[in-house]
Symmetry: C2
Subunit: 207 residues, 2 copies
């Protein structure tokens, strides 16, 4: 496919643009572009403009750094939410995942990544200082760490812990354990081990 | 995912546009859009504009109906190619596939689909009349049918045959048989049957 001869430069250009997206090869890119060619002119312009407009006009919330259409995002601006709680996440997809559970009513803080020396991401590339500032200046009661259970996630958790340990705030992390509906037999041993060590009082779980 | 709460209307709009593409679900769409958000402004504009420009400026060759940047495509306009041969294909992807073999030096005729009553595609929705016109008026020696080996492909072949049978032109179809490198044992019986019925003189194949 590398030496594919395109009958049109315009077509080749559009295919190359699509093929730059993650997980989209040149065959898929060609299929998508040919689909767009069969669509109405208006639909295609809408598609192209939606992407250009997104990049031009999108904002990041000044408080939590989540993606937003306004200076302060709808979560941070919502007076009904509990402004004493901050849940620390890696990216906006994690915010959406937690929001979908309908189990959390506090605020968020989007780091924009996790500490990963291999990828050249250090604490200064992330929104950690702004988190510490928020905790210092705001009425924050609890900071909930909700990062991936990877070495990078653990490193980031520990870095934040060190920065916060002299501040009077509760620091928690989301529970790790056997997933709901998961069978003991098929759970990996590290998760199973953790779920035994961090076992819960049964009466608390059925309240 | 249907009731996903997006933190931004712009984001939601862009995700919905991507999710309309074939084979792209909402999760993949979100991943692609978040990737674009991490790209440079210029790159994203280039992406959006490539698609809009493609749809606005692309032409279809007046002769063979292949996609083209000019009135007459680069294949039809090429004096080195053999203008006595027309290879009839369903779409532009087939042109590209045959071109990649470097085994054909004639012209093409892109039907824009095949006859498929189930999908509401009849002969009048396709570039069949223009093919007959080309054969009648041009110096065409041979028309090569290169459509899919499906019921729709066979129907279209037969329809073209009926239209061309009173015109003095050779009508051929590309060979069906066991694929090169294919094992007899794993070849489906219809293909294997056809390859026995349409067997070739061995001496012709080693010449």
């Amino acid at each position: 496919m590398l030496h594919e001869r395109f009958p049109s430069k315009l077509l080749e250009n559009a295919v190359e643009q699509f093929a730059r997206l993650p997980g989209i090869g040149r065959k898929t890119a060609l299929r998508l572009v040919l689909h767009l060619l069969r669509c109405e002119q208006g639909e295609v312009e809408e598609f192209g403009n939606a992407i250009i407009q997104l990049k031009r006009e999108i904002k990041h919330c000044k408080v939590c750094h989540n993606i937003s259409d306004t200076e302060i995002c709808s979560i941070c601006a919502n007076p009904v939410r509990d402004h004493n709680f901050i849940c620390v996440v890696e990216n906006i997809r994690d915010v959406m995942a937690i929001e979908n559970t309908h189990q959390y009513n506090g605020l968020y803080h989007v780091l924009g990544g996790i500490i990963s020396p291999m990828d050249g991401v250090g604490p200064n590339n992330l929104e950690i200082d702004s988190l510490i500032e928020r905790v210092k200046t705001g009425d924050i009661v609890e900071v909930i760490l909700a990062l991936s259970t990877t070495m990078e996630g653990d490193t980031t958790n520990f870095y934040i812990y060190k920065k916060l340990k002299n501040i009077d705030v509760k620091l928690t992390t989301i529970a790790r354990g056997v997933s709901v509906g998961g069978e003991i037999e098929y759970t990996d041993e590290i998760t199973l081990g953790r779920s035994i060590v961090n076992r819960l009082n049964y009466f608390d779980t059925i309240k």
